[in-house]
Subunit: 314 residues, 2 copies
């Protein structure tokens, strides 16, 4: 655990030959019938039953993908939806994934002023300081909003530095309306995404944050919506690992995401969520594996990792 | 509950002659000794004990301020810090405040792409669709990040429209480093804060979102860091109520926040958190009320409301 976050992630990518991460954002309605139809789980209006179903599914996904990928991104929104019990379930899954040697990215996208950011950093990135939950495991890294500037990032980076963890600050997102704000441009033709990217890269290069392989514990979320912009961001941000959303269900292909990597094939980890965890809905995988939904996810995960690895020559 | 959120808030401000809101962001270490020293509560490393202490304090604050102000802003970070039990405690306090006729703003600052935003909107703004928690009360309004554009706001606005609730999108924040990003300026001299403000104002004017008194259920968080900028934002955003942080402990005074109101004295609600809820630490109030910490909070809350009301001639 004392190894620098970026080095740990880069080594795990190399070991598994997979510069990718699986995103876990399960909704009850899309769970495989083999889980949803179990008598204990079969009631979407029963919070405990539906949360149990989501947990059962999530644990199985973790076991299927753990040998294949270096990292798992868990989106807390889909657990927060079950209120307190859901938050506890989220942390259980973080622990379960860590036990399977996955590097866990908590996709919580928090962002608030300094004294609130300290509290969020303690909750989401640090080990707890309460006796009754001292076995609780916080994620290895989290996602954060950048709009408030360094204040809002610093408390997380401090924990990351002290506890060998990581932070990914939002620079360019994958959604349709991203450009409305992120495309705001200054007199020199620099977009807001580039301005934020430049700042994040500067913060990332601060004393004590860089690992041995040339990357900081402060990385960035960069979605490849526009090839030119992706190239410019990659050039502007040499210190930062990119966590890359938008692949698969959100529309980006292997050529798009390739631009998030440096020429040496390092610098990014590509996430796919729905295209992997719901692979059992796809004829392509159903034809192969029938009702065996775990095999469908395994195949989709292998295909995804191979495609990205191949595109960068790993 | 069928009255439009903005009308409801404006009427409550008028009734209580107080265009203000108290912010609840309690940390165990700063609780009054009268609470912290109770044998049941006196252990910061015991999660249940310290959460109970925070809850006891919060309930009493709610009862003290409910007759004096129209609204309460609860910062979820300070409850999330206690993991699942903390989230449940947060919703208990939302319910308690609603029972005391306070309009409750959930300061959760979430912000994610569309399909995740839908899930967050369901959790944080809508009534739950689980049978076992069908008495759970969601806040009347929430705070949100704007960096992702309309996608990330729309699911919340949809709930707000259907359930007579409100949304405050971040435009200008109160922290030291806010200008690093929010001050990014285009060729016409427009800052990012103004660009975002203009967009939010446009979205706010959409079909079916405006109330009877000229304000939308989509408002904005606008901190008065710079008088010129505050004036420009107020002029650019006629459709939006401003939720105004930064007063008191964060440094803004009554003259600064006055600029967040229109000339007719409507258009903003000013928040103070620490300067009210920790008033028992201030010699000014201790001299008056000794160890009676609730009286200290009551006096600080009255002074705060009177000062802001006076500055706008209410």
């Amino acid at each position: 655990m004392n190894e620098h976050f970026a080095d740990r992630l880069l080594n795990a990518i190399r070991t598994k030959k997979a510069p990718v991460c699986v995103g876990l954002d399960p909704v009850y309605d899309r769970l495989p019938p083999a889980i949803k139809d179990q008598p204990d789980f079969n009631d979407p209006r029963d919070r405990a039953a539906s949360l149990d179903a989501v947990l059962e599914f999530s644990r199985k996904v973790i076991h299927v993908v753990a040998p294949l990928v270096p990292a798992l991104k868990i989106n807390i929104a889909f657990f927060e939806r079950f209120y307190g019990e859901g938050i506890d379930a989220y942390f259980e899954l973080v622990e379960e994934a860590a036990r399977q040697n996955l590097i866990v990215i908590g996709d919580c996208k928090r962002g608030d002023v300094g004294h609130t950011a300290e509290v969020y950093a303690q909750t989401h990135l640090s080990d707890p300081d309460f006796d009754d939950v001292d076995d609780l495991v916080a994620p290895d890294a989290v996602t954060l909003h950048s709009y408030l500037g360094l204040d809002a990032i610093k408390p997380f980076v401090q924990v990351a530095k002290e506890e060998s963890k990581g932070v990914f600050a939002l620079v360019q997102t994958s959604n349709e309306s991203a450009a409305e704000i992120q495309g705001f441009t200054n007199a020199e033709g620099l977009t807001l995404a580039e301005h934020v990217g430049r700042l994040v890269n500067t913060w990332a290069g601060d004393h004590g944050l860089m690992g041995r392989q040339g990357y900081s514990c402060l990385g960035a979320v960069v979605a490849p919506r526009n090839p030119d912009l992706t190239r410019r961001l990659r050039a502007l941000m040499p210190n930062c690992l990119f966590l890359v959303p938008g692949y698969g269900a959100q529309g980006a292909n292997a050529e798009d995401v390739k631009l998030c990597f440096k020429d040496n094939g390092t610098g990014a980890i590509v996430n796919a969520s729905r295209s992997v965890i719901y692979a059992f809905e796809e004829p392509q995988y159903r034809d192969q594996h029938g009702e065996n939904w775990e095999k469908c996810i395994e195949s989709a995960c292998r295909d995804f990792a191979a495609k990205i690895a191949q595109s960068i020559g790993l």
